[in-house]
Amino acid sequence: MSKIDEIAQAVETGKSKLIEGLVTEALGEGIEPVKILNEGMIKAMGNVGEKFQKSEIFVPEMLVAARTMKKGVEVLKPKLAAGDTTRLGKCIIGTVHGDLHDIGKNLVALMIESAGFEVIDLGVDVATDTFVSAIKTNPDTKVVALSCLLTTTMPSMKETAAAIKASGLSGFKLIVGGAPITEDFAKQVGADGYTTDAASAAVLAKKLAS
């Protein structure tokens, strides 16, 4: 097995204790950092997402895979050039005002990061203004992702989406998600996209950003 394959396998199976050593070894062998990221880790997370969609793996397995990748990326970060072309751009994510649930949002953030985005996670119970000013300070934002987990906070998502639209800021796509969200509701709030799970959210973000 090549070092790249070993890295991919470590990410897929969530071997977070091994990943740092493997990435360091790969760098030592002279393998390009970008190649390690793309062909080793991002590809592996793609597989993980696919398996999750097919219900072949469980949520914790996706979490440990993403965690493993994060650890590997830490080793790569200093080696990756600033203008790294593999990064898909920035994604701003947060749970809308009034909603404190973050498991789904965290999972989406991890998957989107694993897909090659730089994720700015605003956390939970995020005020509308905070979303707008985050987009303002990060003009290279490609995706804004809103989450809510309660039917009672759906109006809050509606307001946030409307405020972002009304701000006149552009250059990014808006995606929404969360347990009570439907395709229909996503259209109502004027989102550019909607998915039902974290893995497809990452695929969608990637598609919208390119």
Partner: protein
């Protein structure tokens, strides 16, 4: 959970037959299967007359050690036999068991003091099986004095509070759980063990009592058990209980055991 595989025990009729017939393949197979199922120790009990016991144990140890590196749990009522059996094991395992009866502790503890051997200790003494939790804790106190005297650290001891049949009891396992909780409170690194099989004696559908017991005892701090690791239903419950007790980060042990087919519909 520390799983002590119970299947190689001459008091089980099919195993008694295998021992009598020198059915080596059967014994090797059971050792291997228990190791593959995640046993931390493989209990070996000859259950033959004492004159033949040591030879039988040696023969059984060799069979087990020819197929797995999982350490052996030497199961004998005689401390003297245990003492002679220790050098026959390739690696440190578990003594099953000593109690405060007679000179058992004084025979075994000094022998294993300087080693990595672990030891199951029953909370009975020359007065028999203590009736109350307070009495068992008194025996435990005396036992720990011995452990200190021979410099055995608590994390090498598996305390068995003695599980009696439940059908004649009026307060269920309260005595057992109280003993377990108090032992664990005094020595957080000590192990608590127990065999489930006694508890269901004389009741129909014993498996339900055994399984309910394991879960309740785990809740009281039991982290070691003498069980059949090939019993997939029991294994599923143990992994599930560990996850529910917050002893399994992200339920990965549970998922991993499922993936390995240790329970569920798998292999």
């Amino acid at each position: 959970m520390i799983l002590i595989g119970e299947k190689i025990n001459g008091s089980i009729p099919s195993m008694a037959k295998a021992i009598a017939e020198k059915n080596e393949a059967h014994i090797r197979d059971l050792a291997k299967k228990q190791a593959d199922a995640g046993a931390s120790f493989i209990d070996v009990c000859a259950s033959v007359p004492e004159t033949e016991e040591l030879d039988t144990l040696k023969w059984l140890f060799d069979l087990v050690q020819s197929v797995t590196d999982v350490p052996i749990s030497i199961d004998s009522p005689s401390a003297k036999i245990i003492a002679q059996a220790i050098p026959l094991c390739k690696r440190p395992g578990l003594i099953n068991s000593v109690s405060m009866e007679g000179d058992k502790v004084d025979t075994i503890f000094p022998l294993i003091a300087e080693s990595k051997w672990e030891c199951v200790c029953l909370l009975s003494d020359d007065t028999g099986i203590p009736k109350s939790a307070a009495d068992r804790l008194r025996v435990f106190g005396n036992l720990m004095k011995k452990a200190e005297q021979y410099k055995l650290s608590p994390n090498r001891l598996h305390i068995d509070p003695l599980i009696e049949m439940i059908c004649t009891s009026e307060d269920g396992i309260a005595k057992v759980t109280e003993t377990m909780q108090k032992v664990k409170a005094q020595y957080p690194t000590i192990h608590l063990t127990g065999g489930a099989s006694n508890i269901s004696f004389n009741l129909p559908m014993r498996k339900f009592i055994n399984r309910a017991f394991i879960i309740l005892a785990m809740n009281a701090g039991m982290d070691s058990a003498i069980i059949d690791p090939l019993n997939k239903d029991m294994m599923g419950l143990i992994y599930a209980a560990e996850a529910l007790l917050g002893q399994d980060e992200l339920c990965m042990e549970y998922i991993g055991a499922f993936r390995d087919g240790l329970f569920g519909e798998g292999k």
